[in-house]
């Protein structure tokens, strides 16, 4: 029972460390990037750092910035909780730490994808503006009150390596929850 393989929750340790690494990486490398034209407009999106570049000027949207801070702190605490839990998985406080930490990378990952899809659907419905989640497409823009002019722009989008690192972190944290049963099995109370 005290073998090295079950003394620690290795999946949890890997998940916690990967979550922290992913968090730091996401500050500099977006999960998803959209480019319009020849870098006329760029969208760099990740749950912890979303910013926009327009004609060479970078800016962020305050509301999204606040949500980024929420995600950053959540993932940071999640990673720390997973690491602490993983080295002492049988202590009484370990299970609450695991429950606190293991779902957050997955939820962040899922909410990010859902958010992108929702934004894409809203832009399509409201502005009739299509953008690809992956790959390239040419979009035609209507110019109000002007006829005879058609403007089309090339849009390129894709998920970057930090997105896939987040998927790995989420997977490891879920694996840690499943592995917890081996590390700290529930003991049945002795029958009277």
């Amino acid at each position: 029972m005290d073998s090295i393989s079950t003394k620690f929750n290795w999946f949890g340790l890997a998940g916690g460390v990967t979550t922290i690494v992913m968090l730091v990486a996401s500050l500099f490398y977006p999960w998803w990037q959209l480019t319009i034209g020849d870098n006329l407009l760029t969208v760099n999106a990740s749950p912890v750092n979303t910013n926009f570049g327009f004609v060479g000027t970078a800016f962020s949207i305050p509301l999204i910035w606040a949500l980024n801070v929420v995600a950053l702190l959540t993932l940071l605490l999640s990673g720390i909780a997973m690491i602490i839990y993983s080295v002492v998985p049988r202590r009484s406080f370990a299970k609450p730490l695991l429950d606190f930490g293991y779902k957050k990378p997955l939820f962040t990952f899922l909410f990010f994808i859902i958010g992108l899809v929702v934004v894409a659907v809203i832009l399509q419905a409201v502005l009739n503006f299509n953008f690809p989640l992956m790959g390239s497409t040419t979009n035609t823009l209507a110019i109000p009150f002007v006829s005879g002019v058609i403007i089309s722009v090339l849009l390129s989008a894709g998920f970057l390596w930090s997105f896939w690192l987040a998927a790995v972190a989420a997977g490891l944290c879920i694996a840690a929850r499943l592995y917890h049963k081996k590390v700290a099995p529930v003991t049945q109370p002795p029958k009277a």
């Binding site: 305050p62 002019v149 058609i150 089309s152 722009v153």
Partner: protein, 184 residues
Amino acid sequence: MDKIRLVLTLITIAIVVIPLVGTLLAYQGNLLGLIVPPELNDLADDLMGGDGDGGSGLEPPTMVGEPQYDAATGTFSASFQFKNSFPLDITIKSLSGNVECVEHHFHLGTASLSEPVSIDAGETGTLTVVGSWTDDAISHFGAAHSDEELVDVVLADFAVDISGIQIQMDEGQMGQMQVPNPAL
């Protein structure tokens, strides 16, 4: 164990509430600023309030000198100056169109940009457009414009690629220009 869960729950609430409430308080006098940052407003003002016609920041190109015609190769060329009124550097990657006789709507040939031109913000660049007349066009110039040294033409199906943005205009959007009659 319950105390730890309680502490973790309180921490979760705090890290959600504090940044959101803090940002809301910071922008309480300008809630629109939560979604539209001032940098974006400044950029929009720069783009819409340029020095060009109608305040659009866009000035039509002006022809420099007279169009040239090389009878040996059957090609013509014309140079235009274009002021980049936008607050960004642009590259005109391509330009193409069909040249039509204004009077008879006769297709005379095609025209395109000789080479990509990069123009810094606020600077003026020279675009050289080259093209060739079709054999039918030469006949048309001779038959229908035999007494004109300069013939009014227009670019139809005009398309230009500026820094990855393709703009297509129909005949009505393009100004006319005069080209030397190759039949004379």
